[in-house]
Assembly symmetry: C2
Homo-oligomer: 67 residues x 2
């Protein structure tokens, strides 16, 4: 398992939290959004999922992943 904290722009409310955490969960990974910090911490098994696919899933929800 790998844990990475991403800086994500555009998250403003609990709906945003749910849409991001839900999208990442659909990939089979876990995400925890910190709204006030503007971060998403993702935990994933790097033998099954790439970090890039997680970033894409977040961007598809309409947010900008900074790193």
């Amino acid at each position: 398992m790998q844990s990475v904290t991403l800086k994500v722009q555009g998250m403003s409310c609990n709906h945003c939290v749910n849409s991001i955490e839900g999208a990442v969960k659909q990939l089979g990974a876990n995400a925890k959004v910190d709204l006030s910090a503007g971060t998403v911490t993702v935990e994933f098994n790097e033998s099954n999922i790439t970090l890039d696919s997680i970033k894409e899933a977040i961007e598809e929800q309409g947010y900008d992943v900074i790193n």
Copy 2:
């Protein structure tokens, strides 16, 4: 038909727009959110629906109706 523009706090993104407009539509009224102005303009038939019930529906979604 009556049209009233309410000042509403806490609306931050398109998810908020959808949740408010959807909740008001469920009552049989129409709502149009202006995110940058922080307002919700509601149109309703005052013989069927009260303005108070619309305000309650918006507050139940987690927002504060100021007037």
